[in-house]
């Protein structure tokens, strides 16, 4: 089998001491971020992006990916012990995980969450290894019209999955697209919205936008609230679940993994949606739905497996099509671009050691997280005692120095302040940053692909419906639009987000 040979190449590339170190470092930082509420994976990856400039491309990607899935692990720890979701993807774990902890089963819940995540991570790795090359070779037939249609589909999906008002989400996507267009236009060389600032000729740099909108806006919102006291009620005795708990957790973890793996591939899906969907599914098919909310084992096993599987498979669209499906993937794309790698179909054939190395590192990272983190839970929980008033100045300094170091430009730092204010105002007005970020990244790509399609067809817009693949994607997009407009679906969507 080719897959195994390829995976062997990957393990060979990823298992060098230095790359293992990056992987460990990424996982540890990720867990730390996951444990600490008030700073999410998007802000962290953006914050650490400048630090990876000096690394080898593979090392940088391994570390950044480690942060992402490390955060899933860390988030569940605080969700179970404190009913405090460190990450949005572990919000559902709070419900039953914390109840388990109150009944003295905190250790078992943590153990189930970790092993479930590891299992899901393994499945995710195999899925990427098996399907990414197939998808990539299929995508080699894609030309501009297909790419344009795909991006449109991705943006529509992001709108549907955004929390809250659909109109606001669409407006945020459009605003993101508009900001994405700043810079020199490729064909005519017209400088658009640059206000004569030389730093803007190449477009707005991605890092200050992500740091401002996610990192700083988060800090500012947190400071508006009163700081709560974090009390730890649960004591951890043994991480071993009972036989009965294992019997119930196993099928739930399996189902959670499948749900997560599927939803993760979809644009806009990713870890958050996966965990919600898996929890809802478990509740629906359970023989004792009343137990949910009272400490049902399935309510921990399923969403925790799902968010990890989703986190893993959300790499597929980026690695095969070059289209980021979630904000975290948009940042990973930024990291690749900075390292001089163009994500897309060519990456597997041109840079096999990079592609397979990254996939192998995901498996290694998941193993590290189980082996290293479970014994470290005590330390992570102690870190929670670090008060926020000491934490946020550190984040702020890291972001400032990071933004400056991208190109030794104080303009980027000022720009970051602007986006911080914008992000703060938007979240006060109930508008989410995620659709904005996706629009921002996809804006220039969409314009370019649309224009190329027009050149391809000599100005005939029918090209989008004459090509079968692009037509299929457009029909699917139309389906999404119908979903937005149809009233029944809108009400279920609202219910889903309230749960």
């Amino acid at each position: 089998m080719d897959v195994f040979q390829n995976l062997a190449t990957g393990f060979f590339a990823a298992a060098t001491p230095i790359n293992l170190l990056f992987c460990l470092f990424g996982c540890l930082i990720g867990t730390l971020i996951g444990v600490l509420p008030g700073i999410g994976p998007i802000a962290t990856i953006a914050m650490l992006l400048p630090i990876t400039f000096g690394l080898s491309p593979l090392g940088a990607l391994i570390m950044l990916a480690g942060i992402y899935y490390g955060a899933q692990y860390g988030g569940s720890t605080t969700a179970i012990l404190l009913r405090l979701p460190g990450e949005s993807s572990s919000v559902v774990t709070c419900i039953d995980g914390y109840q388990m902890a109150l009944r003295g089963r905190a250790g078992a819940a943590l153990g189930i969450a970790a092993v479930g995540s590891f299992f899901a991570g393994c499945v995710g790795t195999v899925l990427i290894a098996a399907f990414a090359p197939i998808l990539a070779s299929f995508a080699e037939q894609f030309r501009s019209p297909e790419y344009f249609a795909l991006m449109l589909f991705g943006l529509l999906a992001a709108v549907i999955l955004a929390n809250g008002s659909v109109i606001k989400a669409i407006a945020m996507v459009i605003l993101g697209l508009l900001f994405g267009l700043v810079g020199t236009e490729s064909q005519s060389g017209t400088a658009r919205f640059t206000f004569g600032v030389p730093e803007l000729y190449d477009g707005i740099d991605f890092v200050p936008v992500a740091m401002g909108l996610f990192g700083f806006a988060e800090i500012m919102i947190n400071l508006d609230r009163k700081e709560g006291v974090r009390a730890i009620t649960a004591r951890i005795t043994s991480l071993m679940p009972t036989r009965e708990e294992i019997r119930r957790a196993l099928p739930a973890a399996l189902r959670g993994t499948s749900v997560g793996a599927l939803l993760g591939i979809l644009p806009g899906g990713g870890a958050v949606l996966s965990s919600f969907a898996a929890y809802t599914l478990e509740k629906k098919i359970s023989k004792v739905p009343a137990e949910f909310g009272q400490g049902a084992v399935e309510g921990v096993a399923a969403p925790e497996s799902a968010n990890n599987a989703g986190a893993q498979t959300s790499f597929i669209p980026l690695l095969t099509l070059g289209i980021p499906s979630t904000p975290v993937m948009a940042i990973m794309m930024g990291a690749m671009t900075i390292q001089g790698i163009a994500p897309g179909t060519a990456i597997i054939s041109d840079r096999p050691e990079l592609f397979w190395g990254m996939i192998a590192s995901m498996w290694i990272g998941n193993l590290m997280l189980v082996v290293i983190n479970l014994p470290l839970i005590g330390i992570w929980v102690k870190l929670l005692r670090v008060p926020y008033r000491l934490l946020f100045p550190c984040i702020l300094v890291l972001c400032c120095v990071g933004a400056y170091s991208i190109s030794s430009s104080t303009f980027l730092v000022m720009l970051m302040a602007g986006f911080a204010l914008l992000g703060y105002i938007f979240s006060k007005l109930g508008c989410e940053g995620a659709p904005f970020l996706l629009g921002f990244v996809l804006g220039p790509l969409m314009e370019e692909n649309f224009r190329r399609s027009m050149v391809l067809s000599f100005g005939d817009p029918m090209i989008f419906v004459q090509r079968p693949i692009s037509l299929t994607i457009l029909v699917a997009s139309l389906g999404l639009v119908l979903l937005i407009v149809l009233p029944q679906f809108r009400s279920t969507r609202e219910v889903a987000f309230q749960e």
Binding site: F193, F216, L390, P393, V397, L398, A420, G430, R451, D460
Partner: protein, 150 residues
């Protein structure tokens, strides 16, 4: 009497529409072209009109459909956070990394009303040393530790 029932939507709508109008005005000279042969101004203009339309819809709708209010905002944290970033931008090239981080950490810490002076001073010194170590020695970024360029 007409009343805004959803303040978040109302102001978000106005903001979107305002940004749309501003961008439309800034980009008034970009050549639009036609859809078959898009000029540099085509997409920006279309997006601006989209923003204005959605913004207007949001604002108008907010008179009819009620929604959540806007949470109270504190002036102190927002002021000091933004000030800290701006001060960093103004001092990094003039005085170097170490003094800049020292000052910025203190300004940032002022954003929290729980700030304590001795604790903050310790943090500032530690952050200053740590960032010099990380960015200049470990990552060899081209920054001065301290300098004097006014």
């Amino acid at each position: 009497m007409i009343q805004v029932k959803s303040p978040q939507d109302f102001w978000a709508g106005l903001l979107f529409a305002a940004i749309g109008c501003a961008a439309l005005w800034v980009g008034r000279n970009y050549n639009a072209g036609v859809i078959m042969k898009m000029g540099p101004g085509y997409l920006p203009r279309a997006l601006c009109w989209g923003l204005i339309g959605l913004g207007a819809l949001l604002s108008v709708r907010s008179f009819a459909i009620s929604g959540p209010g806007i949470d109270g905002s504190k002036v102190r944290p927002q002021f000091f956070i933004l000030l800290a970033i701006v001060v960093f931008a103004l001092t990094i090239e003039r005085f170097g990394l170490a003094p800049s981080v020292l000052v910025v950490t203190v300004i940032a810490a002022l954003a929290s009303h729980e700030m304590k002076w001795i604790e903050t001073a310790t943090l500032a010194v530690a952050m200053s040393a740590a960032s010099v170590l990380l960015f200049i020695y470990l990552l060899s970024q081209s920054m001065e530790i301290w300098t004097w360029n006014l």
